[in-house]
Structures are given as C-alpha cells and as structure tokens.
C-alpha cells in the first residue's frame, strides 16, 4: 500500500473513533468540582484559574479566584458558594487549606464579593499529612459536611465542617486518616455506601503522567474504605475508576456533577490531551454504577447505530416498508449454505420507494435494514450540554433527520435544517443505557425524552428515572 494511503486510512480510523472532547478553552490543572450558578457552569483550578461555560460543553476562561493556591474544590450550600483552596505556607508538606466564600460565582453579579473564611485544615511539615487537594462532601443522609484532603506525604485525612459557615466544626477534633499513597481525594454517597475517590500515580509530567483515579467504599463516612479486592485504601488499595485511554493521558481530580433525575456525570482533568498538544485539559464524562461500584462512562461517539429500546427490545425506524437484506428470497433448505456474502443494506438501495416528505417514526424488530440504521453526528456551533455537543440523528446514507414535533411526537424530516427540534442530547445513564432528548420542542419549554411507549411506537415524554421507557442502547448496526 502506498504510504499516503496508509496515512489516509489512519486518519479515517482516527476519525471513526473520535472521542469528542470538550470545546473551547479547556486548559486547566487540578479542577474543582463543576458547580452551577445562575445557569452557568464553573470550575476552578490550581493557581486560582477559572473556567466558565453556558452549557457545560463550550468553555472559556473566567475570573480568577482571589487566592491563587493549589487544587481548589467548591460546593454550593444555601446561598453561599464555599471554595477550599490550599496554600503553601512553607515547602510542602507544610501547607494549609483556606476557605473563601461568595454569594455568587458570576463576576457580573452585583453580589459578587469574596470573603475570607480562614484555615480549615493544615499540616506542619512533619506530621504524616500534606494539607492540599481538598475535596468537600455534603452527606445527603444527615446533612453533615466533610472535607477530605492530602497528597502523597502521609494520609488522606477527613475533618468535619460546619454546613452553616463552611468552617471547621471543631478545630480541636483530630483528623481521621482514610487513605494513603494518593491525592486529589473526594467523597460521594450512593445507595448506602460512601465512596472515596482518589488519584494515584504521578502528575505534572505531560504524556508521561501515570495519574489514574481509584475508588474504595465504606458503610461509614469515616471508613474503612476497601477496594473491590478487600484492600483498605489506608494500605494503598483502590479499584481503578478511570485511567488513560484513547488520546488522553493521566486522569485526576474527580468531581461529581449530579444533574438530577439520576443523571450523574463527573469532571476531571487529563494531564495530556494528545489532540491539544499534550495540554492539561478539563473533561466531563458520564458516571455509571455497576454492582455497587462507580464506573466511568464514555460520551457518545459519532457513528452509525441501531437505536434499541431497553424496555421493548425493538429498534427505532423510519416508518416505511422494509426490504429483507439481500432481497426477498425463498427459504434455503437444510445445509444450503451458499451464495456468498450478502452486503449490508444501504439506504440508496431501498429508499426509492420511501415517501419524499416527512415520515413517521416507529419501532420494530431489528432486521439490519436501512430504515433502522441511524447516523449520529455532532453539529458544529450548535452548543451542547455537560460533556457533549448536540447531535443530529439521520437515517444513515440520507439527510432525513429525526425531529420533535410541536405536539411532542416524533417525525423524520426530509432534510436536516439545523433547528433546535432536530438537535439531540444524549446522556449516558447509570446502567450504561442512554437518555435521548431533543434540544427543544416547538412552542414548548418542557424537557422531554425519547420514550418507548409501545413495542412499535416511540414518543416524547417527561423523563422518569424509575422507568426503562427512556433507556436506549446504541448498537453497532
């Protein structure tokens, strides 16, 4: 093969498996948990740097924090946003974590004013602790507020904060040791378990960074946090949650982004994005759960798919009469395996009999037919949502586009024109299936999701986290 052809093939393969990273200015190191304020998303990184986004997909540089410390974390409680950020008070491991707070994160807001809240944890440079990398956690079961912190020198530690002030609840209480040999810890709660997520490996070495996020779980907030092999994190345990992969290397600094209705995502940074010159970048991905453990999901990749309902097992299709792949033919007798390979059915082969205008959508058993194969492609400059851009969904090989109608039903238009009713949001749910929502519905402000109401019928309905009606699978066609 000619070298140019090798290069072209490599390019095509790379495009075929392209992971859509966040858009815009996403350079950051040690990002905080992503929080929402007045409809915008914010995160803060080492040096007090800030990123802000209107939709969670396209980011730009924001206003820096007044404290330019290390690896901040942020939480919204009541009418305040509390930021915890570490400061070197000598050479690490002599360090301290300060709290500052504000009533808004929007610098344009008249109420934007940072207040100092003082030191909430520190390390003296000798003890087995390095008081940086704070992670703040509100226990949903009892409303208690906690801070985990630490970085390699000694232990990941836990102290209790006052949820009314964000300050240390009792400064005289001794911190509890939870884990060792890691940093950038954070805690979340799920279904009766506390999960401690911490970053193992080395940071700050670009594509040579061994950063990876690991997790242990405990029945109590104070531990012990054991991994899936039963090893205590205080002895170095930790189940891998997410590591390097694809074109990004060295994930670290987990932060939970709970979007409600059971849709959870998480933020992190990669030490090196190979498609961005090896820069350290923010990413947001789906958070899934399997067998009591968090699993890092993937944002949707572009491609051609069967779209199958988890509830009914039937596949979304253009409501046209199907043609068997390979054409209608008599059943072959026993042992009559001959005739060679039947190629995949393409729309161009069978679409001449399809109606020219708008066509209904329905569901049917998947038979590998052209009206059942959907091409999903990101739409440039159409905005997005946390982690992903909006997509168009068209019948593969055509420009016929799935759209929401003003009566909250579905239709396939003869061509994609870019309207918001033709833009689709795909969020991966806890079980790995997908929620599919139109960006908007004509003349409506309701947020609805694609719903398999009958075995042969799909519609748009309010998302019900307890139902499988709105859980969909994207399968290779």
């Amino acid at each position: 093969m000619h070298p140019m052809k090798y290069a072209l093939l490599a390019t095509i393969l790379a495009l075929a498996s392209l992971v859509l990273a966040l858009d815009g200015q996403i350079g950051v190191h040690d990002p905080s948990t992503v929080v929402r304020c007045d409809g915008k998303y914010y995160t803060y990184g080492t040096g007090g740097s800030s990123l802000v986004s209107d939709d969670g997909w396209t980011w730009k540089r924001g206003t820096a924090l007044p404290r330019r410390g290390l690896a901040p974390d942020v939480i919204h409680l009541g009418d305040r946003y509390y930021v915890y950020i570490a400061a070197n008070i000598g050479a690490q491991p002599k360090a301290a974590i300060n709290m500052i707070w504000n009533k808004t994160l929007d610098p344009e807001s008249p109420g934007y004013k940072w207040e100092e809240g003082g030191v909430v944890a520190s390390s003296d440079g000798v003890e087995d602790s390095n008081a940086i990398d704070p992670g703040v956690f509100l226990d949903p079961t009892d409303g208690r507020l906690w801070l985990v912190y630490g970085s390699y020198f000694g232990y990941i530690r836990l102290v209790q904060l006052d949820p009314k002030t964000g300050k240390r609840l009792n400064p005289n209480d001794q911190p509890r040791n939870l884990a060792i040999n890691c940093e950038a810890s954070d805690m979340i709660y799920h279904d009766g378990w506390y999960y401690l997520l911490a970053t193992h490996g080395s940071c700050c070495r670009g594509a040579d960074s061994g950063y990876n996020i690991r997790v242990g779980r405990a029945k109590k907030v104070i531990g012990p946090f054991l991994d899936n092999a039963g090893v205590d994190m205080i002895k170095g345990g930790g189940k891998l949650f997410v590591g390097s992969g694809g074109r990004v290397i060295g994930p670290g600094h987990f932060g939970l982004l709970d979007l409600g209705d059971g849709v959870q995502k998480f933020s992190m940074h990669f030490e090196a994005d190979l498609d961005r010159g090896g820069a350290s970048v923010l990413d947001i991905r789906p958070l899934l759960w399997k067998d009591g453990w968090p699993v890092a999901g993937e944002n949707l990749k572009e491609g051609a798919f069967e779209i199958e309902s988890v509830r009914t097992g039937t596949a979304l299709e253009l409501a046209v009469e199907g043609m068997p792949v390979g054409g209608r033919r008599a059943r072959r007798g026993p042992g009559a395996v001959s005739g060679g390979v039947i190629p995949p059915q393409e729309a161009a082969e069978v679409s001449k009999n399809w109606p020219a205008g708008n066509v209904d959508v329905r569901m049917a058993n998947y038979l590998c037919q052209a009206q059942q194969k959907w091409a999903i492609a990101a739409v440039p400059n159409a905005g997005g949502y946390p982690g992903s851009p909006y997509f168009k969904i068209t019948i593969a090989g055509t420009d016929r586009a799935l759209a929401a109608t003003e009566d909250a039903e579905l239709v396939v238009l003869s061509a994609f024109t870019g309207g918001p009713e033709q833009l689709w949001r795909m969020d991966q749910l806890a079980d790995g299936a997908w929620r599919i929502c139109p960006k908007s519905i004509p003349n409506s402000k309701e947020a609805l999701a694609l719903s398999a109401l009958g075995s042969s019928f799909a519609t748009l309905e309010k998302f019900d986290p307890k139902s499988e009606k709105q859980h969909w699978l994207f399968k290779a066609p």
Partner: protein, 221 residues
C-alpha cells in the same frame, strides 16, 4: 325480536362449535346495556364482521386491503348486532360480542361460525362513551396479525407484518376523546393460525384509562 332470534341462532352455533371445535369459548353475547372496561382498561365489547378474504401482511398490502371498499360506508357505519353487508358474492353478518379475556379471539369467533381464519380481514367497531372530554390520551393495541385503527374516523395506528398480539404493541399519538360517544374502528388481517386483538386507552400518564363505558346497543339506536 329479530335480534333475539338472530342471537339465539348464532350463539347456539357458537355453543355447538365450542363443544366440537374450539373450547373454551371466550366470547359471549352482550346482555347488559353498558360494559365497563376490564381491570386493566381493555375494551371487551365489540361488533365483529364475519371475515373477508384478503392476502398479504406487508405495509402496502395491508394498507391496500383496508382501504378497498368492501361494503358501503365501511369507515363510518355503526352496525347493529345481526346487520348484514354484501361484499362481492358473500353476505356477511355483524356480531356483538363480549370477551371474557383482555383480548378478542378472532379465531374462536370465525371458527365457531365455520368461517375461514387464514388470509382474512376482520372489521371491528366499538363505541366508547366518555363522561367528559379527555385530552392527551392514546389508543394502545395489540393484534395478530397486522391491523389498522381509526378513532372518530381518523387513522391513528397501523402495525404490519406477521405478528403476535402484544399488549400496547401499537400506540397512537396523543388524541382527544370527545365527551359522549367515540367510535373506535379496526381492521385486523390474519395470515394463518391464531388471530386476536386487544385494545385499551392510556391516559396522559400512560396508565390504563377506565373512565368510560361501552354501550353498543345504546349507540346503535
């Protein structure tokens, strides 16, 4: 009186057929003026026309079969039990039935009458009486095999191919049921073997709608 004699004759035939051919019979002659839907909202009272011979279960074949005019006013008629229509050389009779089950067994119906059950089309009509206007509801049906459905004259569902009856297989888009009578009409086409259908309405929350009655005799007056 005409109806009573007719019913006696039909149900004697059904009973005879039941013992000889298709036990258990799942269909009975309506005896009450009104019938509420079943526990899961299924419509259990229908007028069924004896089968018409047709061929084909594909989308286009079914659409062609149901759009062909077999008898006058076939998309608007509200027949009475015992009414007859002529299609081609055949005279066919409408039968009012109650089903004991969630579904209407068309095989029982046709076989008990000594009629064919394969490659046939069954027309079915019922009248749903609502105490008030109901918006955002959906007709939800299952059929063996293909079927096309109309509510108040508008086609709302078509499901095609050789298929079994699955509850809520075909579901309409949101529609409005009028206060008072609403006409639900179906054409079910069978290729071979068993044949039946089931139908109910779902409310705006996708729960079975039960706030209505079916009263064929009342509506037919």
């Amino acid at each position: 009186m005409k109806n009573s004699v007719h019913k006696l004759a039909i149900w004697a035939l059904l009973a005879l057929a039941a013992t000889a051919q298709v036990p258990p019979i799942t269909l009975t002659s309506p005896v009450s003026p009104q019938k509420a839907p079943g526990a899961d909202g299924f419509i259990q009272r229908w007028l069924l026309l004896e089968p018409i011979g047709v061929n084909g279960l594909t989308d286009s074949a079914v659409q062609a079969a149901v759009k062909k005019e077999y008898f006058p006013n076939q998309f608007t008629v509200l027949p009475q039990d015992g009414d007859k229509v002529t299609t081609g050389d055949a005279q066919l009779t409408w039968h009012a039935v109650d089903t004991k089950n969630y579904n209407v067994d068309l095989y029982h119906f046709a076989h008990a009458l000594g009629k064919p059950t394969s490659d046939v089309l069954f027309w079915a009509v019922t009248i749903v009486n609502c105490p008030r206007e109901m918006r955002g509801v959906r007709l939800a049906i299952g059929s063996n095999a293909a079927s096309v459905w109309w509510v108040n004259g508008k086609e709302v569902i078509g499901i095609y191919g050789d298929r079994q009856t699955v509850i809520d297989d075909g579901v309409s888009k949101r529609l409005t049921l009028n206060k008072g009578p609403n006409i639900v009409r179906a054409a079910v086409i069978n290729g071979g073997g068993a044949t039946d259908f089931c139908a109910r309405f779902l409310d705006a929350e996708d729960k079975p709608l039960k706030e209505f009655t079916v009263s064929l005799l009342e509506a037919a007056k």
